[in-house]
Symmetry: C2
Subunit: 367 residues, 2 copies
């Protein structure tokens, strides 16, 4: 955590910020609060808090429900207690004062995470020169440290086991939702606290829809089933895997076999090309060019991958920065042909000095 | 849906709004996007869209992933297609034009749901007189219509069954996380697509912590276990139940038995007092006064309940409005004594003309 804070402070210095406020709050139904930045920097896993990071100090503003947990989980942060009935801004102002910041101090908030009404209250009531910033913490989160890679390795290994178990169960007559329930229960059994997103099970014609909503359709012999799923495991780290399987009882069509092999080879070529210094666009093009050369370019309708970590889709996606050691990214080419079917194959890769290593060991389909 | 739109339009007229923009977008890890207002008004269950509602028309702005789903699920809304690479604001402007709104038209956005950076883009790029509003849709969502009550009744019935099954499994030596896993798997088996929040299982001394993070502690004979859980069921409707049980093998202490009976009676008295016209504060006071009279006032450290529906904690909580027919609210008094233990008993109630009806039929503990 200390190392993460010092990296953040370097980024803050570049933008001449005296302080950074990072807020998380409960949002209704979500089982997963949007608290990844707070968790990443402080270790605090609760659902309501505000962090204040300055050049030398770090504070956590929390209410009575969380005093104990903040002290235990965020030992590098000084607890500023929000009392019952106290306004959040009053308490943040107390933290600003403790940090010796004044009305002139440039203090940033996270523009993409702060609701407009909270922004209004802060800009009126906080005693600081409030400025907007974006993705300061998310950029740090692109490159995983050792502790994070351990968590992700474990998460992906467990998820591959879930695939092994579920692939062995697939048979004609099951509904998509039955397969999804098997996935979800086995994720939990293998240690996930939650799904990292709603499991996608797309069978037959539905496999041609990349974002299919898992439904009641029954699997038929010989047809493809795209299974895209992941869990939230220890430390809050997410896995994300896709495998396309074929329902036993009938040989898959020659067309589907051809598509499968093309997608698999695109997945492999992208993995081989991924190394420090490569940009996301170049990485994407390796898979895309291969699929185009094989004549299916227009059926690969989405990007090749996304950053993965405390969120299944980490919000900052290497748009500007090249990959470097510790980057974790998905490799998920797909071909989707309406009326024929679709194939997607997704692995989670970590960038090392010697190239990319696959975290998701689950086997591919053998015809 | 038509009825909901017409109720919304009445609320918009009061605030002299020519239009209302309601936006939802995917947020990383969450399996449940924060799309309840969009779902409620339009029926669209996808994770990225903007609705525009005017006095006579209704539009849904969606991207290519969702064209089909928007047409199917939101038949009362006119689809405005966002093309690949097109800016969201360009497309929203097209909808504003189709609605014959101009730069002078007062068009509101949802201040508590719009991130600051999107607000900045909208205020710069949208061709309308943009104003902030809060909880217009949430206020409507307080009072459930017939279709919603059917969903909630079913959700609570299934959740009560989960309690029955899990209560029968409790025995010394199980860990809290084992109990939580049983709850979560059985919620899914009984039809939930997800948890409505992370299940709380708090045993022995942990039962004295209202927001305990379920852990590895093993249950011991005779001690209390607070189980607080719920699922997201058909239509996106949530349940939320708490029962306190006692681990078999030893008689619970006289003190815990006394506390249990006080909490149960507070729960019952609040239910009997709940009817149209009662305000939240009055409802809360019925349970609180009873617990105070019995000498445990300072150990009831949270509110009596909250609104329930498309979110486990509906964000607008009857703060100003009195209860009326169709209101659904939790009834969850608790007593938490450090070093002794805690009890919470929570039911979901619906307000009818003749008073409150319990949706959660799960039995209470019998000593």
């Amino acid at each position: 955590m200390k190392e993460r804070l010092s990296r953040l402070r370097k980024a803050m210095m570049k933008e001449k910020l005296a302080g950074l406020l990072i807020r998380v709050t409960e949002s209704g139904q979500s089982t997963q609060p949007n608290n990844q930045n707070v968790l990443y920097l402080s270790g605090f896993g609760g659902s309501t808090a505000v962090l204040l990071v300055t050049a030398r100090q770090a504070f956590i503003v929390a209410d009575a429900r969380y005093y104990e947990r903040a002290r235990l989980e965020a030992p590098h942060f000084r607890l500023v207690k929000m009392k019952r009935g106290e306004k959040a801004t009053t308490c943040i102002n107390r933290a600003l004062k403790l940090a010796r910041l004044t009305k002139r101090s440039k203090v940033a908030f996270e523009s993409s995470r702060l609701p407009h009404d909270v922004y209004l209250a802060w800009s009126k009531e906080l005693e600081a020169n409030l400025v907007a910033t974006s993705h300061l913490v998310e950029r740090l989160r692109q490159y995983k440290d050792e502790a994070e890679l351990k968590y992700l390795t474990k998460a992906c290994r467990a998820t591959s086991k879930v695939y092994d178990e579920v692939a062995a169960l697939i048979k004609p007559g099951m509904r998509e939702v039955d397969v999804a329930l098997e996935i979800d229960m086995r994720l939990r059994k293998h240690g996930a606290s939650d799904n990292s997103f709603s499991s996608i099970v797309a069978s037959g014609p539905n496999s041609a829809i990349p974002h299919h909503a898992t439904g009641n359709r029954r699997l038929k012999a010989g047809e493809p089933v795209v299974m895209d799923f992941g869990g939230v495991f220890d430390g809050g780290y997410c896995s994300d895997i896709t495998r396309t399987v074929f329902v036993p009882g009938k040989k898959p069509s020659a067309k589907m076999q051809e598509i499968y092999q093309i997608v698999l080879e695109a997945n492999r070529q992208a993995r081989l090309a991924l190394k420090p210094g490569v940009k996301y666009r170049e990485y994407d093009e390796v898979a895309r060019d291969y699929i185009i050369r094989r004549g299916y370019g227009k059926y690969f309708t989405h990007g090749l991958g996304h950053s993965l970590g405390l969120e299944a889709h980490d919000p900052y996606d290497y748009v500007g920065d090249p990959f470097d050691v510790g980057a974790v990214v998905t490799d998920e080419p797909g071909i989707y042909i309406e009326g024929v079917g679709g194939v997607r194959i997704e692995d989670d890769l970590v960038v090392t000095e010697n190239g990319a290593r696959r975290l998701t060991g689950a086997p591919y389909w053998k015809f």
